[in-house]
């Protein structure tokens, strides 16, 4: 004996709030009630249209006063947030609220097993930048405005160790949206390329270094952003460098 399906059930179904058992009952009911099924499809459509339209809106500019207020609030709160659940966990909670639950459950445990797809974008971006650097007519952009990058493409740039210099910072296309590729010279004069894109991935929280598509690359994710470091260094050395970067505060 199951409870009759009411409007509240249909609303909860549209929002992915029902457990599997109740969802199955709703679906069986919808299969026999085309008018209700059409209404559910309409609600799903409206929900997506709202989301696309409102999220796609430009919504005005950030005034300097607004930035100053936000920065001050960040400073006043960051002193209170040590030793508490990490931003990565918060991001995961937010993602869990957006992604249908079944997907989240599946994705949780085997997060470290698959090579994340953004590595291909990182390697492609790296190749393009290496070509750029050889060209006279393609100027480099050595000023890395971490705040602007955060504001526009939501990427947090790790604080670089002392003595490291940014040679070039370019926005690159990727399957996950605009990515940042930063060309860096380390204190020892070695070339290093840091790729970052605002997206969750299958990358682990602790960096892994591997050979991929002919380059040595280390990758990890933190705070809903996926990172990769490419360089001439050995895989072991790259792993250590990535560990250092991952340990550093995000700017």
């Amino acid at each position: 004996m199951t409870d009759p399906i009411g409007e509240i059930d249909l609303t909860a179904y549209v929002d992915g709030e029902l457990d599997d058992e109740r969802s199955a009952q709703v679906e069986a009911y919808l299969a026999d009630n085309p008018a209700c099924a059409a209404q559910v499809m309409r609600d799903l459509h409206i929900k997506r249209v709202l989301r696309l339209n409102i999220r796609g809106g430009t919504g005005g500019i950030t005034t300097p006063e607004m930035m100053a207020n936000a920065r001050r609030l960040d400073r006043s709160l960051s002193g209170r947030s040590r030793g508490i659940p990490s931003l990565a966990l918060m991001a995961a909670l937010v993602v869990a609220a957006i992604v249908p639950l079944s997907v989240t459950r599946l994705g949780q445990d085997n997060a470290a097993s698959a090579k994340p797809s953004y590595l291909d974008d990182a390697v492609r971006a790296h190749r393009a930048v290496v070509v750029r650097e050889r060209m006279q007519s393609q100027p480099e952009a050595p000023r890395l405005d971490a705040e602007e990058i955060l504001r526009t493409i939501r990427i947090r740039v790790p604080r670089l160790p002392d003595g490291w210099e940014v040679k070039d910072a370019q926005i690159m296309p990727s399957a996950q949206g605009p990515a940042l590729l930063t060309s860096i010279t380390t204190r020892d004069g070695a070339d290093l390329f840091l790729f970052a894109v605002y997206a969750s991935s299958t990358a682990p929280a602790e960096p892994i270094a591997i050979q991929h598509d002919g380059v040595n690359i280390a990758y990890w994710q933190e705070a809903h952003t996926s990172y990769a470091v490419i360089g001439d260094a050995s895989v072991g050395e790259l792993d250590r460098i990535a560990d250092d970067l991952e340990d550093n505060d995000l700017v």
Binding site: L77, L89, M90, L93, A97
Partner: protein, 177 residues
């Protein structure tokens, strides 16, 4: 990275916060004012923030409470009603084939009562669960569900009057965080 200072979280949330302010006020200038006031209030009340809770929801709640208390003065509302014809569309320009339906949906969305518009925004646009929306707005989960049902009836072009006999009951999973 736990144990690390978290800098610039609020800056990263600014687009989400502004979007919510825009949905509540339906007006870009009022949204900017609301967001500015909310950031100031959050700073003044920073000691009430519990780091174990979601910063995002804390800030959403501040925006919402501020909006509700400002609305009580009625001044902003009168100004808005007077300028209803000049409503700024809430989003980006639509592609041509979508635009008729989209315009209709957005127009109906803008005419929803404030509390229904707020709930629908948190669920549909920000992807919050019912539980998270209930915590953000400090209302029971059943209230979230009935507001959603009513809002959806309006967006479908039906009468907002309750035509269902289904009794309100809490369905679905219990969310913990």
């Amino acid at each position: 990275m736990s144990g690390m200072a978290r800098n610039k979280d609020v800056i990263a949330l600014l687009p989400d916060l502004r979007r919510y302010a825009q949905t509540l006020t339906r007006n870009t200038a009022d949204a900017e004012d609301l967001l500015s006031s909310a950031l100031l209030r959050a700073h003044e009340h920073r000691h009430t923030y519990q780091p174990s809770r979601s910063l995002r929801r804390w800030l959403f709640a501040i925006i919402h409470n501020l909006f509700v208390s400002q609305r009580r003065t009625r001044l902003a509302e009168q100004r808005r009603d007077g300028a209803l014809a000049d409503l700024v569309p809430s989003g980006a320009p639509a592609t041509q084939e979508m635009s008729a339906l989209l315009a209709q949906v957005m127009r109906r969305f803008d005419t929803l009562p404030d509390n229904q518009r707020a709930v629908l925004h948190l669920i549909a646009v920000e992807g919050m669960s019912y539980q998270e929306a209930a915590e953000t707005l400090a209302v029971p989960i059943g209230t979230i569900m009935s507001r959603l049902s009513r809002a959806r009836r309006v967006l479908r072009g039906e009468s907002p009057v309750d035509r269902s006999h289904a009794e309100l009951r809490v369905v679905g999973k219990v969310h913990h965080d």
